[in-house]
């Protein structure tokens, strides 16, 4: 039985604990470059054209047990809604141990896959546990939580990770997993992301991207941004002659070295064969006449149509911070997207619900129409996605640049985070 004196002691200690907890209320500190106790990969893909390599590392000098959850966010073909099919598994990582696995094949526990004189076998190393393979067509997220042997959450803050997405064309894109740091974890279910037990999720995400639907100026400058007039093949336009209808130079550097427009151009090196030239456009009234602006089409009339040049598409993958893996209830966050261009002009989208997982092009009307047809006026745009009250949002952004030959290359970037939304909860199955 507690005595009055012990109650007073307890009260004093409770005050101290309150002050301590209050004093440790830090701003939301989800991170993409520090260890944490919750590790989230918002974009994980295993399709016929793309697969993902997951790397997870224990940064501490002690063994860490991790309970991981795949969430399949691909659309159900009957309902059109994300499936939210959860598959979980457990990893044990010894001190400082890195591990890796491929999402489409998982990783078996096989003591015979060891070091060889010829090099490494694919899964050489201490197998961290049986990792299931995800079905073809999987698009979703992976969430890993630091737990103790009983399955209860633990706040070791030991986990970091990254995801590498490889396509069958050879394209590579990579991003760091987002970590949530434990402060004074409740070591019980659910995990409270409230800036007291675990850091809260951010209230907004910001990425600065080449404008969706616009051009990639670097590709335009150094890569394939035009078409050979005769052969139709891809070519570079910068640094080569602009010509009028008579293949006479209208600008350097190919005007016979005399720096005088009017000279006869040499053949463009990218366009083999005679007087073929690299052009960014063709006159609308006569497709055999090369042009770079409407004035070049004066002789035949009409405007100058730019041939396919570089283009950029941007995709946002968003996941709610909250998830209930025990009762299989996906989290939902209402997000609002604002886009700013270089002129400070702003376009806002309507709030849309993000349940489980979503990946949309920035211009998509489903993102609220914020950038529908927008962003063509300036080279870059800032895309700011804000979660709803007491519901944070996490994500990654992907940019795909395409040149005039149809070659594409993608890159993934972690967004900047701002603010704090201390209302999220993750409930794990134990």
């Amino acid at each position: 039985m507690r005595t009055t004196k012990s109650r007073r002691v307890g009260s004093l200690l409770a005050v101290a604990a309150f002050v301590l907890c209050g004093a440790t209320v830090a701003r939301a500190d989800t991170s993409t470059n520090r260890p944490g106790s919750i590790l989230i990969f918002p974009k994980v893909v295993a399709t016929t054209t793309r697969d993902t390599i997951i790397q997870i590392t224990n940064t501490q000098a002690m063994t860490v047990r991790t309970h991981c959850f795949y969430v399949n966010g691909s659309l159900d073909r009957h309902t059109g809604l994300p499936q939210w099919q959860e598959t979980d598994f457990t990893l044990w990582l010894t001190r400082q141990q890195p591990t890796h696995f491929k999402v489409s094949t998982g990783r078996a526990v096989d003591p015979s896959d060891n070091f060889t004189a010829a090099g490494s076998s694919a899964n050489a190393g201490i197998d961290p546990g049986l990792i299931p393979a995800m079905p073809t067509g999987f698009t979703g997220e992976l969430v890993c939580v630091d737990v103790e042997d009983s399955g209860d959450p633990l706040g070791d803050n030991a986990l970091i990770g990254n995801a590498t997405l490889r396509s069958t064309t050879g394209d590579v894109a990579k991003y760091n997993g987002t970590t949530v740091k434990a402060i004074t974890p409740n070591e019980d279910n659910p995990l409270l992301l409230d800036d007291v037990h675990y850091n809260a999720c951010p209230s907004s995400l910001r990425v600065d991207l080449l404008s969706d639907g616009g051009r990639d100026p670097v590709v335009d400058a150094i890569g394939n941004s035009g078409r050979c007039l005769v052969s139709g093949g891809p070519c570079r336009t910068q640094g080569y002659c602009n010509v009028d209808a008579n293949y006479l130079c209208s600008s350097d550097p190919d005007c016979n070295g005399l720096n005088l427009p009017g000279g006869t151009c040499n053949a463009n090196p990218d366009c083999t064969g005679g007087m073929d030239v690299c052009t960014p456009g063709l006159c609308a009234n006569d497709g055999t006449v090369a042009c770079s602006s409407d004035s070049d089409c004066t002789g035949v009339g009409g405007s100058c149509n730019l041939v396919q040049t570089s283009s950029v598409r941007n995709f946002l993958t968003l996941v709610p911070c909250s998830s209930d893996f025990e009762n299989l209830v996906p989290g939902t966050v209402y997000v609002t997207t604002n886009v700013f261009d270089e002129f400070e002009s702003r376009v806002s989208g309507n709030p849309i619900p993000v349940t489980c997982w979503t990946s949309l092009q920035v211009q998509s009307p489903l993102l609220g129409g914020a950038a529908n047809g927008f962003g063509l006026g300036t080279t870059v745009s800032a895309v700011i996605t804000t979660g709803s009250a007491n519901a944070g949002v996490l994500g990654v952004a992907e940019s795909v640049s395409t040149d005039s030959a149809g070659n594409s290359a993608s890159s993934l970037i972690n967004p900047m985070v701002k603010g704090s939304n201390p209302g999220d909860v993750i409930r794990i199955s134990e």
């Binding site: 007073r8 890195p98 201490i126 002009s345 890159s411």
Partner: protein
Amino acid sequence: MYNTKRVGWAVVAALPLIIGQSHAVRALTRSDRPAAVVIYPQVEACDVTKSSICPGNLNRDTLIVLSNTKANSVSVNNSVTAHCFYLNANSHCTNSGNICTSSSQCQNGTFGSCVPGWTETDFNVTLTPDQPLSWSALNGLRKFPITGLTCSTDQSIKCLTPGASCGLNGTCGFGGNSGSLVPPAPEIPFVGELKCIEVDPATQTPFGGDARNDLKGEATLEQILDNGTLDVAKYDAVGVIANDNNDGNSTLTLSMGDEYEDCAPVIVFDHLFDGAVDPIDSSNTAQSDLTLVPCSEDLQTGNTGSGASTAQFLVFNEFEQRFSTSRRVDCHFNSALSLIDTTQPTRSIFNAKVTGTVAGQTRIRSVGGGLTGVARLSFVTGTSTVTTVGSAAYNLHQDVGERDTPDTIQLP
């Protein structure tokens, strides 16, 4: 007997210590938050029509994006001025002054050595609220979107009074990007870093007093590969966080609790070992590049020794086996992983032939000045002639700890 009074006073006495310790939240450098200093550790550019020594004879460029994350205000000028520095890390022949990568390129009748260089080119960029700006290292940026006082909803409307109403529901800005000019990279080919520091445009030094962390940056490394295809690799700029006690002078002190937070004492680099078979396409193998730059920099005198440090690498494979090596970092360190400790890659502790596993963790501790950096993973094909299939850049992780000595950035 339990004395509650003594316990109570002990708790009260301990509170400041508890609070003080709990408020010592380490910020370290951040790549996912706005900051006062943004560092782009790897900037590269080359045009094969302008240079015969482009690495791999490939066209490449870096698209730099710098943005002001402060929101618009009708009454307060939330524009931000960044004083930026290109740091050119090209090596040059001592006899001809030409760019070189090895001394063998400097033997043209007279004996010459290929000596690493470190020269800075600085410029200012003023960003309006929430504005992102971009430029390529090859071309720079001369034409800015907002010049002078213009109306926020219609740039063609010039106005006189900042904050005044104008146009259709617009507000008069505070001066736009006036005073900004971004030069092209000073040399072709170019390899080096870019550093941008939030400053008071009047003094060209940081604002004194309260912390100003408003800058955010990204860099996209683009190259045209051997087969004419496109390769794009993107990373977030590393941010140095300012604290509330800036003295506003030209010496920036990076130390926990000081003007700016310090660089990480330990960088954690999660990677695939060089030569590891690509888990997705077994016809390719992995190859990584690591870039490290010092946190300390003397931009006033160009003293490259000011930020020099020794990077100690502790490497773990998936068997938890441990290897180590170290390298000197003077101004800009960029190396293929398996060339860090040897000239023979297949004998490197960063090579899968030695470590035996695909994935690795490398913990990099700096002795001397602090370090920060970025990594790039490539998948390549071929053995005698290696061809890049695709690459991706990514930011390095950090681990907490204490740094013994502060770093300093000395502005001119």
